[in-house]
Structures are given as structure tokens and as C-alpha cells.
């Protein structure tokens, strides 16, 4: 009888090993999620057991339910739209100016002497310190939020663009000149691609500051947007909505960063350091 069992076990062994390998592969990719999942479980269990008071931190299930209600009423989408528009428009203005000025000061010594020390001086003022002034200037208008977001995202893009343009290999520039490239071609074929890795660093920093600024601005002075949604809920002690708003910010921030990284990988695929496996 045992003789009949043994060969079966022998056949089963490779399959078991394959399954084991598959598990290990899954384990490796799931490992970063283990800690958050455990934390979430502990949170849910703690809430259900009554250890965590609902007024302090509602259960994850309650937060999700609040989110579902907001989504159903259309309030969530409307606020996300408003916030996303503010973030992107402000970033387009600030990042665009940062890129332009960064290229200018990176390329021209005159531009650097004229502009850079002024910009560095302004950079040392925390832009959020301007909120009272901005409210005086713009009230709680859209312009106030756009101004703050643009101001905040300007500096990282500016600094990294200038640095990127400066650190383009001068030997390549000389090669371009020797091979008859005129200034626009030199910029397009050598300076810009050479500065791009650094510009992307600035872009990703700028995106982080963009969300940070928007959260603060919307929390302090707004009558729409996710930050407003959270502050409004606070007045009615809707803790679940407050927590949900924070989660939405986190997700939007993560989404923006992932998109930037994807773009980075696509644009810098020539660089072994960015090549995706």
C-alpha cells in the first residue's frame, strides 16, 4: 500500500515546489503591503472592540461608508475636480515659470547675475507665511490658491532646472558646435535632454509642494475643494469625512507622483539608471 503512495508523493513534489516558488514571488511583491494591512486590521479590530473612540478615529469601514455617501451625492467628485484644477493650474503656472527662468539663468551668466540672488532671497521665505497677505490681496478667491500653489512649486522646478542646464556636459555642447548646430538645435538636442533628469527631480519635488500648499490653502481659506470638505465636516464633528478627505489627498498625491515617475521612465529610457526592468 505504501508502495503505491510513494510515487504519487514523488510526482506531487515538483508541483509543490512550483507552488512554493509562486508563493514566494507573491510574498515578495506583497511584502510592502503587509504592514499597512496589519495596521488597518488592528485599527478596525480596535474600533469594533471599542478601544478606539469613534469621535477620535472612526473605523476604516465607517470612513469608507462616509466616502461612499459623498461619492453618491456627487459632492466628492465636484470637490476633487475643484482641487485638481487648482493644483494643476497653479503648478502649470509656477512650474512653467520655474522651467523658463531656470533655463534662462542656467544658460546665461547675465541672467544668473540678474535674477538668481533675488530668487534665492525669495526662496528663503516660507511661502505659506504669505497666507495672511495673500488673503488680504485676493480674499479667499481662486486667485489666492493659484498664487500660493504657483509660488510654492516655482522654486523646486527653478532650482533643479538651473542646476540641470548648468551640469550638461560641456564636451557635448562643444561637439554640437563643432558639428554645426545652431543655438535652437543645440538647446533641443543637447541642453534640454541633458538637463531632463534634473528637471524631473524638480518636477517631483514641485508636485509634493503643490499638494502641501493646496491642502493648507484650502483648509484655511476656501469654500470648495477637498480641504474645505474636511473643514466643513469638522464643524459638524463628522470625523469619518475628515479622515476620508485626508485619504483622498494621499491618493491624489500618490497618483500625481506615479504619473511623474511614469513620464520620467518614458523620457529617460536612454539612461540605464531609469530603465525599467
Amino acid at each position: 500500500m505504501s508502495g503505491a503512495v510513494l510515487p504519487q508523493a514523488g510526482l506531487a513534489a515538483p508541483a509543490a515546489r512550483r507552488a512554493g516558488l509562486a508563493w514566494r514571488g507573491l510574498g515578495r511583491s506583497a511584502l510592502p503591503w503587509l504592514l499597512p494591512a496589519l495596521l488597518l486590521l488592528a485599527w478596525q479590530a480596535g474600533s469594533m472592540a471599542g478601544w478606539i473612540e469613534e469621535e477620535v478615529l472612526p473605523a476604516p469601514s465607517a470612513v469608507l461608508a462616509a466616502g461612499w455617501d459623498l461619492a453618491q451625492s456627487g459632492e466628492l467628485l465636484r470637490n476633487i475636480e475643484v482641487s485638481a484644477w487648482r493644483a494643476l493650474a497653479g503648478f502649470a503656472i509656477g512650474g512653467g515659470l520655474g522651467l523658463g527662468f531656470g533655463v534662462l539663468t542656467g544658460l546665461s551668466r547675465l541672467g544668473e547675475r540678474l535674477l538668481d540672488s533675488s530668487v534665492q532671497m525669495l526662496r528663503n521665505i516660507p511661502h505659506l507665511a504669505l497666507i495672511p497677505l495673500v488673503i488680504l490681496w485676493f480674499g479667499i478667491d481662486e486667485a489666492a490658491k493659484l498664487f500660493l500653489v504657483a509660488l510654492g512649486s516655482f522654486f523646486p522646478v527653478y532650482v533643479n532646472t538651473m542646476h540641470g542646464v548648468r551640469s550638461v556636459d560641456p564636451q557635448l555642447v562643444e561637439m554640437g558646435r563643432a558639428y554645426g548646430m545652431d543655438a535652437p538645435r543645440l538647446f533641443r538636442r543637447i541642453v534640454l535632454p541633458g538637463a531632463l533628469p534634473s528637471i524631473f527631480v524638480g518636477l517631483r519635488y514641485g508636485l509634493g509642494i503643490m499638494w502641501l500648499t493646496l491642502i493648507v490653502a484650502e483648509t484655511i481659506a476656501a469654500n470648495s475643494g477637498i480641504g474645505y470638505m474636511a473643514m466643513h465636516a469638522r464643524e459638524f464633528m463628522l470625523v469619518d469625512v475628515v479622515v476620508f478627505s485626508i485619504l483622498v489627498y494621499a491618493l491624489l498625491g500618490k497618483l500625481a507622483d506615479s504619473l511623474a515617475r511614469l513620464l520620467e521612465r518614458l523620457c529617460l529610457s536612454w539612461n540605464p539608471a531609469y530603465r525599467s526592468a
Binding site: 564636451q171 562643444e174 561637439m175 558639428y179 554645426g180 538636442r189 535632454p193 541633458g194 536612454w270
Partner: protein, 256 residues
């Protein structure tokens, strides 16, 4: 016999005429009045110790710097040539654009008015000439040092220059790769018939490749020697070694 000594000059190879050429960078002159005629189609090697001014001379010929005094003229027959179009340069380093494909890098060498339909075919042909036709779509970062220099050579050749100027392009290569590259440079020079000016530290390389070797010393031409040996030349050949010994002797004498 003469045909074996020197490839026939292609119609349009550039002749270089240099009179009283001086160059200083604010301090003492690096070049102190050079007079030199390079006939069309000649392969000239410039040797000398570090700081003798050979790279400066090369940069002036290539139009990268302007002379402080004196004149430098490029001519094809009666036609006066502008350096941007007529001269191509190979640097010590490959200087490839890492963000362009290998073919894209070769296309950098094409004249800007080359029709789009022709660009790819011309680049592909130049890559075939240096034996890298099948790598055209790859990034330069995957190539070895010798292969990168071959791409740089293809980039220099793709516009069919009238004068090719080489600034120690083989200095950083290992011995075997270097011998292969020397053979390749000689082969394309013989096939295309351009004028070539090679700056090198390596006297052996100079006498193996060149029709004529000049030795620069403190910004002046200290020796001007025709290497009238048939091609292809064999390494270790006694006559070759004789030329090499004479130049080395003069180089060392200049030191004392």
C-alpha cells in the same frame, strides 16, 4: 608605386594653408608662428609632448578657436571652404549623445539641409562602413569604448568631410582595439580620399598611418618628415621602426 604610397585625392579634398599662425590665451603664445601647407588628400600626423600646442593647432584648423594672428585657409582647388561644412572632428572621447540612438548620433554629423528621406540611409551606410550596421537602433550606453569611437567615426564620416581632424581619438582604447581602429581609419581614408590631420602622443601610430609627420616643440614646427613607405604598412617593419626612432630621438633631444 606612388598610388600605393598615397590614396588618390578625391576631387574636393581640402588643402590647408597656414601662414604665421599664432595663438595665445591671454598669456604667452601657445603657437609661435606656424607655417604649414597640407596638400589635399594627405594624411598628416602631428606629434609632440604635452603642452607643445598640437591640440591648439588642431582646434584652430577645425574652426573651434580663432587664431590670435596669422591666417588659415581651407581650399578645394580654387574654392574657399568654410570649416563648419568641410571639416569634421573626432575627439579624444566619443562624445555621443546618450539620449539619441546610435543612428541618431550618426545623423548629427549630416549637413542640416540633407533631405529627411536620405538621412536614415546615409547614417545607415556610415554605420555599415564602421561595421556597426546592426546596432543602429540601440542606445550608446550598451557599446564598448572601442565601439563608441567607431560610432564617432561614422558620425564624422557621414557628411563626407573634405578634411577629417582627429584629436588622439584612439588614446583611451586598449592596445588590440586600437590596432583595429587604426586599420579602420586608414581604410576609410583610402576609400574616401579626404585630407586627414591626426594629433597623437604615439609616434608608432603616427608613422604607421601618416604620409607625413610633423613634430611641434614650444609652438613651432621642429621637424617635418615624409613617411614615404608603401601601404598597407606592416607593424614592426624595419623602415617604419627607423622613422619612429628618428622622431623619438628628436623628441628626447628637445627635452634636454
Amino acid at each position: 608605386m606612388d598610388g600605393m604610397v598615397q590614396a588618390p585625392a578625391r576631387a574636393g579634398a581640402a588643402a590647408v594653408g597656414i601662414r604665421g599662425l599664432r595663438k595665445d590665451f591671454g598669456g604667452p603664445s601657445v603657437l609661435q608662428g606656424i607655417d604649414l601647407d597640407i596638400p589635399a588628400g594627405q594624411f598628416l600626423a602631428v606629434v609632440g609632448r604635452s603642452g607643445c600646442g598640437k591640440s591648439t593647432l588642431l582646434r584652430l584648423i577645425a574652426g573651434l578657436d580663432r587664431p590670435s594672428a596669422g591666417t588659415l585657409a581651407l581650399q578645394a582647388g580654387p574654392e574657399r571652404l568654410a570649416p563648419e561644412a568641410a571639416v569634421r572632428l573626432m575627439f579624444q572621447e566619443p562624445r555621443l549623445l546618450p539620449w539619441s540612438s546610435i543612428r541618431g548620433n550618426v545623423e548629427v554629423g549630416l549637413a542640416r539641409d540633407t533631405p529627411a528621406a536620405l538621412r536614415e540611409a546615409r547614417a545607415q551606410a556610415a554605420l555599415a562602413e564602421v561595421g556597426l550596421a546592426d546596432r543602429a537602433a540601440e542606445w550608446p550606453s550598451v557599446l564598448s569604448g572601442g565601439q563608441k569611437q567607431r560610432v564617432a567615426l561614422a558620425r564624422a564620416l557621414v557628411s563626407r568631410p573634405r578634411l577629417l581632424v582627429l584629436d588622439e581619438p584612439l588614446g583611451a582604447l586598449d592596445a588590440l582595439t586600437r590596432i583595429g581602429m587604426q586599420a579602420l581609419v586608414e581604410e576609410v581614408w583610402r576609400a574616401e580620399g579626404f585630407t586627414a590631420v591626426l594629433v597623437t602622443h604615439d609616434v608608432g601610430e603616427a608613422v604607421a598611418l601618416a604620409d607625413r609627420v610633423i613634430l611641434l616643440e614650444r609652438g613651432r614646427v621642429a621637424m617635418d618628415l615624409a613617411i614615404d613607405l608603401p601601404r598597407p604598412r606592416r607593424r614592426g617593419d624595419a623602415a617604419l621602426a627607423g622613422f619612429e626612432a628618428r622622431i623619438l630621438e628628436r623628441l628626447l633631444a628637445g627635452e634636454r
